[in-house]
Amino acid sequence: MVGPIIQFSNVSKRFVKGKETITIFDHLDLSIQAGDFVAIMGPSGSGKTTLLNLMGGLDQATEGQITFNGAAISGLSEGQLAAWRAVNVGFIFQFYNLMPMLTAERNVELPLLLTKLSGAERRQRVQAALALVGLRERTGHYPREMSGGQQQRVAIARGIISDPKLLVCDEPTGDLDRATADEVLLMLQTLNQEMGKTIVMVTHDPAAAKYAHRILHLDKGAFTDRELAA
């Protein structure tokens, strides 16, 4: 796995609120290698979530170029971007973002509804993914019947079900206790090491960041670690 999977060149991001323009990133460069596990840390408001959104195609850069495996994603239309996300990115959120009225199985199946797979194929894949995150016995359970750690594992299964190269996680253990957080982090590590998933994870927790290969520190829209650029 060589070559950057994600490359930011001269990326600026500004939000316009009324007459005010807030600049979050001003000509930012960044490159993340395929197969890497990167933790992003930094104070609240430093732009961590905004960075993940740009990487995951949830938001567009105001200026500059973002490439994924060498192809630019800046400039795609909203619809194209949605289709691109479906294939290339898995999202893991702090609050799991499961559909409360769907069982674990149905939640995990959702991304596969965007593919051409048959119902039987979908079911088979869902079972495999739930087994992988250790929830084989929980397929018919609803989110409210599961602990936070279990819900996050369902979310991870959903994140990897369509086999994306990239997983972006915004404080995936922010709502979990230490032991449960470690379980989830171990799972992410396994996905990185054994399935070659590239993982970018935002966290406030230094213990969580230790699971990553690389830690980037963001402050006021810039990296403070000098060595990483390009």
């Binding site: 996300r85 959702l110 593919t115």
Partner: protein, 395 residues
Amino acid sequence: MSLVNQIAAVTALNFKSMPQRTLGSLSTVVAVTLVVTVLLAFLAMGEGFQKTIRGSGAADVALFLRAGAQAEANSSVTRDQLRLIEEAPGIASDASGKPLVSGELYVVVDGIKKSSNTKANLPLRGISLKGTATRPGFRIVAGRMFAPGANEIVVGSAVLKEFNGMDVGSTVRFGTSTWTVVGVFDLGGSIFESELWADIDVVQNLFQRQNVFQLARVKLEDPSKLVALKAFSEGDPKLKLEVVSEADYYAKQARSMTGLIQKLGWPLAIAMALGALAGALNTMYNSVASRAHEIATLRCIGFGGLPAFVGTLLESLALAALGGLAGSLVTWLLFDGMTASTLGSNFTQVVFKFDLSPFLVLQGILIALVVGVVGGVFPAWQAARMPVLHAYNRS
């Protein structure tokens, strides 16, 4: 196939989460139910009224009215004219070979309505026995027919049902005269069932209207004879009466009254529909807001805007359709077949039945669906445009 899957899945999600919004959903259903009930009640009333009046007119019966008299109430025909009419061509004869020509006169008398215990106008129609021969379907259902020359009346079955003191054997007083009810008649649910009938000579005498009729009712050999009859009336300077078929006459009367009922019903229903629409919009915007987190999460995963749009629209349509069906059911249970009476065009009471036809129900469902579509399309658009970043809000 995948788009259909997406839409089906998102719509199912939508519907599965509806129990969390019971109150809003329920209020939309109730509002639409009210709209449809009011509309259908008015339409069913119009339909029933129209049917009653329409059923009163036959194509092979012609009416002679004073030229320019729009209605029986302000028409008059003299005894001499009546005699001339008997000579006219194309008129059917009774068993003894006499032409079926019936001079009729009605006066307005007071009755007491059972429902409200208030006075209401009733038409007392003087007819000859020939008059019943021009009205097929006439049937005495209790007692007997009045005897010629006697102070006796027979009452229409609707009058018996809606008014006090009309049972066979009762004595009724109109002005200075006293009458005995000797029978009850049916006439196929027509307007005549809202009348009292007595012998024409007695009515003319007791109400000081000797030698005057309001109209002549004649039975034609067949409907095509109307043309010849019109020409006959035109050609005789002593006649110069207006000749119309009974069917046309009542159809025209029905039109004006039904028009009035509909002119009242539709605007009221539309005003209420606007209220229901505001409610539906509110409910659906709330629905979208409460699902913002889920919709945005689906967008992150890669779902398009269309499934969210369709799901929201279908939710709104389902609520409205439910209201439409409930409204139809309520109208049917409360009103269909219900008897009501109202002022007819000659200011006497007409008794009729509410009549909820499938065509009317269709109109009710239609207005419900319009509320559903309009109340759903804007919120659905908002759902389709949901910013993905809402996925970060705590659900």
